[in-house]
Symmetry: D2
Subunit: 390 residues, 4 copies
């Protein structure tokens, strides 16, 4: 087979209209695809520098709005109208319904209970005993290591280093706080600087790799669920018996009974979220607001907890142990994405916890609606009404 042609790039300005058009024309020539819509973007390509390479246009993802969502959170307080970008019919309507139920019941409480972003270098030593000793050396030198790490960033702070010895190696998790950024790049740079300092200073100059696999970046893992990656955030509210009956056509006793059934199923399946569908809301909110979509993998894990109260109301809480999001950096500054963050009052500095609280409440809203639809037998019919796009 012949050598295939490479995609055109230019050293001058790869984000110029000319470079972009040349590339799009190349794609059309090679694939036959007409890129009319892709090419009819209305943003300035220069704004995408640092967010994309080989730019050929944009994909316009439909954006809906759901709400109002009333929150009495630690950081998120008030009534929110939530932007959700998705191509899945029924999704916005379903979340919208859940939000109205929360609001009708007086709102949800939300709290961020932990912050931690990691890089996870592994150090290879001569044997297990040396690896354990090396771990003790890390403990003794934590201040100097912190200095080395934090020299690379004005925001990131190295809180501690977790150690997991395996064979002749020390696997670590360098845990940081990262302000309003999700922080994967910031922590990568800081951990790299710290590791270089360690390699230089430690008498054995140990070989290391910047990732030993415990990060676990862009993958769900038990360690993220247990030790937190990103933010651990909780949303809770009390579903009033009458609201359940009137707005959701369900009975709280039946809801509680179903909870037992769903949890046994979750355990049998080995599912990493015990509620209905965290990933739907998270994905739609993440696309709208310029979050890293791949982080849905980590962020969708969580624990649903419910108790029927004596008065027949139902306490309902969602705990997300590894929600990864930011209001600074990444895609948050792109034009439409920034507008979506502004809809939530979440653009820029000091807003990441507020955003995380809203995200958790969105998940709660979606679970209210879908769980109720399964219980009331309306699940299929609602999709028939709203999701038919053919």
């Amino acid at each position: 087979m012949d050598k295939p042609e490479r995609i055109p790039r230019t050293r001058q300005n790869d984000y110029s209209r000319e470079a972009i058009e040349e590339r799009a024309a190349f794609v059309t020539r090679k694939t036959g695809a007409d890129l009319e819509t892709v090419s009819s973007y209305t943003i300035d390509p220069e704004t995408t520098r640092g967010n994309i390479e080989n730019f050929i246009g944009t994909v316009q993802v439909p954006l809906g709005v759901a709400g109002p969502l009333r929150l009495n959170g630690e950081h998120a307080q008030g009534d929110f109208y939530v932007p959700l970008a998705t191509t899945e019919g029924t999704l916005v309507a379903s979340y919208n319904r859940g939000m109205r139920v929360i609001t009708e019941c007086g709102g949800a409480r939300t709290t961020v209970v932990r912050h931690s972003m990691q890089r996870a270098p592994v150090f290879v030593l001569g044997d297990a005993l040396q690896a354990r000793d090396f771990g003790e050396w890390l403990d003794r030198n934590i201040d100097a290591i912190r200095t080395a790490a934090e020299a690379t960033t004005s925001i990131g702070k190295l809180t501690h280093i977790e150690q997991y010895p395996i064979a002749n190696m020390l696997y670590t998790r360098f845990c940081f706080t990262t302000g309003d950024a999700a922080g994967q790049n910031m922590t990568g740079k800081a951990a790299f600087a710290a590791c270089e300092w360690i390699r230089e200073q430690h008498p054995q100059h140990p070989e290391y790799h910047l990732s030993g696999g415990l990060d676990t970046d862009k993958k769900h893992s038990a360690i993220n669920t247990i030790q937190t990656r990103g933010k651990r955030v909780i949303a809770e509210f009390t579903l009033q018996r009458e609201v359940a009956r009137d707005m959701l056509r369900i009975d709280t006793e039946a809801l509680f009974r179903y909870r037992q059934i769903a949890m046994a199923g979750t355990q049998q399946a080995g599912a990493v979220y015990s509620g209905a569908h965290a990933a739907n809301g998270i994905a739609a909110l993440f696309i709208a607001t310029g979050q890293d979509e791949a982080n849905v993998a980590e962020s969708h894990a969580g624990i649903t907890y419910g108790q029927l109260l004596e008065n027949g109301d139902y306490y309902w809480a969602v705990t997300l142990p590894a929600l990864i999001c930011g209001t600074y950096g990444g895609g948050t500054g792109l034009p439409a994405q920034r507008e979506c963050l502004e809809m939530l009052g979440c653009y820029g500095a000091g807003k990441a916890d507020k955003f995380a609280e809203i995200a958790a409440a969105v998940v709660l809203a979606g679970d209210i609606s879908l769980t109720s639809a399964v219980l009331s037998g309306e699940w299929v019919s609602s999709h028939e009404n709203l999701g038919r796009n053919r």
Copy 2:
């Protein structure tokens, strides 16, 4: 607190420019957000009917192209230029590099080895023995159940029903093939019809819920990894020793040694993907092509396998057990998304397996690049060069 205002909707045509503008103006009034970019969409809102509710505009996600990616697959054959929509700097460049390596080595082989989409009703019986007997009744009546299910769909086929008895219940997985659609709605409707038939025909008219939690829709689970949800697809290629050295600046022996380290880390972490970062490529490809983004949660799980060959080349395979995708339905028909599918020759009927094969090869390409960057120490520096958007 006062009753908050509801989002305006109209019974006439909620996708008319007027209705949309009224809604956007409402959002601006309530939140203060200027929705200029969101509102400057270039697609016909009517095309989004069935994909979104409460439409207020679009989010333009930057689209890059990576390739060529040479495939010698069962369904995907030739050189592909792959659309990736993302806001994460470096991502397209990194996948692009991996694709060029695959192509330089003669291409990747790809195969879809299993198809199965599920709904998972649970039936509540009087006790465990009755539940087991009920399961045997299902087996005896499978033909009639199939008829009831398939009456609702021209495409979906009920292949079999898996049974998982717990306590006095029978949890099931109704397994379907769904043609070129991802098929969640199709199978929901078919399973509902089957369950209604069962409830009517079985002497005990058992109570059931359409989801008992084993689906496990929009969540990673062990059962999906073991039993497949969507497609199980494999991409494999042989990395030539010289190509590794020249294009990736790594040595295949070092790569193999690192594989051992990464797998021990993966196991310690309890991570559900044992390679580098499947979710990145899947998320970007999914946004570009109108797949359901939430399915990143299920689709990113997988098994990386490598062997150093006697000649120093390195056999590298990625197995994705639960890739959920389609080339029909959902967001695949939206204008830009359709164009991206057409870039791959994957729009419409008979293309879903081809698309799945491409997706698996994309994952392989991304892992080649990131793993090599970690090994060669270029991981941080490449992000510094390409990912700085502030």
Copy 3:
């Protein structure tokens, strides 16, 4: 360091008193340990042939009896007095209490809902497509494969072969029923014969290993929990509100509320059993009755399910998906172990399901007692009273 001395063995009769005494004397000489109790066994060493090598005596494990345990099972019916061998103070007393509660409430229902013992060969092919084709060849030749497997055993039956393709390999699970034996050896031999037949008959004569790791013998695994290894067995009963109050000093509402708390904890922990302590009862029953102790690893996994009934009673069920046990072969024929099986009317042919049902009910009894002790605050004090052996 010098070459250390090897343990004496004799080709004549390694189970003769002389050979045993020589070995014990050697151990005493090398280690200084006086083996008086170990050597004061009262069984005929000849009976241990096939159960142990390098015999030097026995370990006398204290045996207690708990009960009566009333069962209305499919196979286990009547009042049972259960032998439990353990060194953990409080264990027998606690299970005894739980059994009395079950009995007071009219007994437990028990059912075996699935049987399957596996060996899991892996076949290495040229690529993934060949591996998938090979899987189809297996399907077409299942009858001949079954014949080859079953030629090695009068009891084992090959029910089906599960296939899990990874990379260029086909991982399989050869699933058998094994009568009253646990069946690991029987299935090993049968699978080996089947694999040899396959290697000979298939045109590619594929390389294989008798274990590809999916068995998963002597280890807990998700696949065992989902697909069953050994027996899947369920025990259920209804705890009467008054019995809970009088015998356990707890309230069923509090019990149900605690269930929610414990399940959230189980999920957070990633624990493979969602009840209190299945392993305690299983281990003690297994030692008493000559089961393979290592199978506690697989057998202790399970799902606890509870519902508060309208009258305030509490439905409680334990589902054990991978209970591995037998009443024939292994240690079941040893003198004391056989006596313990006879206490349960479970020695020999046709008794394995009965035994499995009793085991599940024992687990249920233990969970009743420990859960109630945690709830009533008596957990620590009971151990203080009964478990102080120093």
Copy 4:
């Protein structure tokens, strides 16, 4: 059905010959089982007080000896002859072979890298924010909490309290070191005292349960694998190429190749041990030495790691993250069990780490032998020769 008869007990001395004989006679009368062997114990029943209730005799478990096992551990140094109590034919022979291989290669290195035993109370607060605040209160009062906990024990030390907020609750793990005892009872008592202090001192007097499910006592869990329960211990050695060929009839390259296959299988299965069969050796060693057999559930988890070295030797390490054992308390003082500990020089104070190191090396030995048997095709034939007890 009539009320069944209760098992006879006496308030005088339930461990007297008379009481025991009466109980055994009762069992024989009710079940028809002749308890001749059970009753022919040679230990003084008084020694079992604190280890068992409703004593009726003993189960004599066959004891074999394997070795020599040469260790160059941190605590275990020299040549060991290891007592293994089991009813599984081939087991002792197989471990014996592995030990001889280790010894031939110069011995294994062993190290205990972490100690931690937990109780895991859960505290129920008003909402998530209060639960987080309560966690900060715990941090501020850790010294007083430690004092309260340690007042109950002369040995246990409260090292720290881990916090896992879910919904309106704070799940905790109170982590202790416990000297030479496994420590479950010691930590139960200490945690109870600490919790009572907390409930009294905290302004809200929060409701708590002594177990919230994170312990996770007698069950495998991800949290134990990640955070350690008991001891985290590593055994490692280098298998010489020639020894592999001569004693195991395998080639180290083939072994390394098989390692890749087995790890992919392990991941697919979701198995919690990635080597061959840790549970076999642990169970047999635990029965022999009076450990709590139920802890096989937690202790058998682990990570196998291997690398082929440049000279063709093979580095092989086993990491057990949650090995639960002791040389003091529990069943360790029973006559035969104590003799077995003395065989290892592990009875009594200051020996627990030594014992843990031996246990890890035993696991390594068993994996060497079984893995090699699978590879060389001798697995089935060895069982045929040694394990035929019918």
